[in-house]
Amino acid sequence: MNLQNSWAIAAKDFKIFRKKPNVIYATVALPVIIGVVFPVILNYSLHRAGHTLAAAEATSLMDAFSIWFLIAGAIIPTAIASYSLVGEKVQKSLEPLLATPMTDGEILLGKIISGLLVPLGAIYAGATLFMLLMDNFTHSVLGFYYYPNTYIGLILLSTPLIALLSVEVNVIISSRLNDVRSAQQLGSLIFLPLLGLFLASETGIFPFSNTNLLILAGALVVFDILLFLAARATFQREEILTAWT
């Protein structure tokens, strides 16, 4: 497998994304909300006149907010991967691409890179802002800088695994749909199991402790491998040309 070929495909997608405001907004919005708006809300809660938030409550809220990076990891690649794959179908640009000497695996990897890198860049930028702002706002209450810590480290470790899962689901979905919006809507359903996990965590059924986050990461690796095999089986030249249209 020639990685330069995959990178060339991803580079082309990046150039197209830059010209699509919808893709830019879909990529940036959620990381900005989590990275800036959540810290501002916490800061308001901490310093609201007549109210004080205990240190334990503050750290608990910060941990809960940080779980949204996992959810972002599931949602944002949906928007990108839908444009990357269904967009090619709509523009009928898959056939000339498939006529090049690149292997199916190189093309699939290129699509995975383009579906992963932009969302992860936005999420990690958002996470950096989140940690900086949270530390800045909570240092006076906690007496120490809460971030970086193992907990958010494990969350940010699991984020690419969830993002990869989301891209793989989109590859499979894209094989059956011819409309970007439908692909996005269906792909975003991957958010539901995560929302379930989030609720399970908040209700204490499956608390997002460090150990449980490691278990989640391990489970995600297994799902990623299984879904990669499924996506790879779907992403065959003949299948794309005859069954994807």
Partner: protein, 306 residues
């Protein structure tokens, strides 16, 4: 032989899209592949371009076998494909569209620059190189897509309906460019149902309707598959003239007040007797000429019969 197929067949489930097709294309030839919609032309190109597998039979491009995994990458390197839908990236400029394809074929930066400049200038798009392809007219898009198919200097070019839906001027530009490519000894496999186009630029044509119905040069097909016809122009045509020709055993294909079109096997030998009989019946001759059959006549006859 640059493109060679033997009993090439493609089935999609119970549907046979291409049935037992054997064709031979020499290096540097423009080979026209004619047929109605759904005849299997695009499926054949896709098999030859290693985009889809064949069900049975054999197909080689150069010395490489389309069914052999290790040969398929080599075939893709030596061919260029213009699909029926051009499939350009509308958001990208003309230059970027070609540049990314140059990268896909592993061309160096310098080579890409040279090739892009060469083709965009040749096709009159250089001044529009930084303009988004999405804003181009159909003709410009088609030209850009042809440039994309040629960016890696392939030996064989597959063109699927290159002038479909283009205005006459844009069609002529594309045809002239195909003839330029022929001068460069490129082998061109042209899917089309524009019969005048095939007649103008193809060395050989094949007529496909799932099966191969006929193959040969346009002139060979015309002469072998349609009878020769003469047009006799008279001052007037009346029943006695018609009866005289019937009596000789010739078929009148068309009749008007002052003209007859007659099917004749060998005009050089048979015309004197026919004309004498017309004059004996009171006909006053103005002129006689042979009417050439067009590829369209041949095509319609064969497709109807098959």
């Amino acid at each position: 032989m640059m493109i060679d197929t033997e009993n090439l067949t493609k089935k999609f489930g119970s549907l046979t899209a291409v049935d037992d097709v054997s064709l031979h294309v020499e290096e540097g030839e423009v080979y026209g592949f004619l047929g109605p919609n759904g005849a299997g032309k695009t499926t054949t190109i896709r098999m030859l371009a290693c985009l889809i597998s064949k069900t049975s039979g054999k197909a080689t491009i150069g010395s490489y076998d389309t069914g052999k995994g290790s040969d398929e990458e080599k075939i893709r390197r030596m061919i260029g494909l213009l699909p029926e839908n051009v499939g350009l990236y509308d958001e990208l400029s003309a230059y970027d569209n070609l540049d990314f394809y140059g990268r896909y074929y592993g061309l160096s930066l310098q080579k890409r620059k040279e090739q892009i400049e060469y083709f965009l200038k040749l096709l009159g798009l250089w001044d529009k190189r930084d303009v988004s392809a999405g804003t181009f007219s159909k003709g410009m898009k088609q030209k850009l897509a042809i440039a994309r198919a040629l960016i890696h200097d392939p030996q064989v070019l597959f063109l699927d309906e290159p002038t479909a839906n283009l205005d006459p001027e844009a069609s002529k530009t594309i045809r002239d460019f195909i003839l330029q490519l022929k001068d460069q000894k490129k082998t061109i496999f042209l899917n089309t149902h524009m019969l005048d186009e095939a007649e103008k630029i193809c060395d050989k044509v094949a007529i496909l309707k799932t099966k191969l119905v006929a193959t040969g040069s346009p002139a060979e097909l015309r002469s072998s598959l349609t009878s020769r016809r003469i047009q006799v122009r008279l001052q007037f045509v009346d029943d006695s003239i018609v009866k005289a020709i019937d009596k000789l055993g010739y078929q009148i294909l068309e009749k008007s007040t002052n003209s007859l079109v007659i099917a004749v096997k060998d005009p050089e030998k048979e015309n004197p007797a026919i004309l004498q009989e017309i004059q004996n019946a009171g006909g006053r001759l103005q002129f006689v000429a042979e009417i050439g059959s067009s590829l369209e006549d041949v095509y319609l006859k064969l497709v109807k019969e098959s």
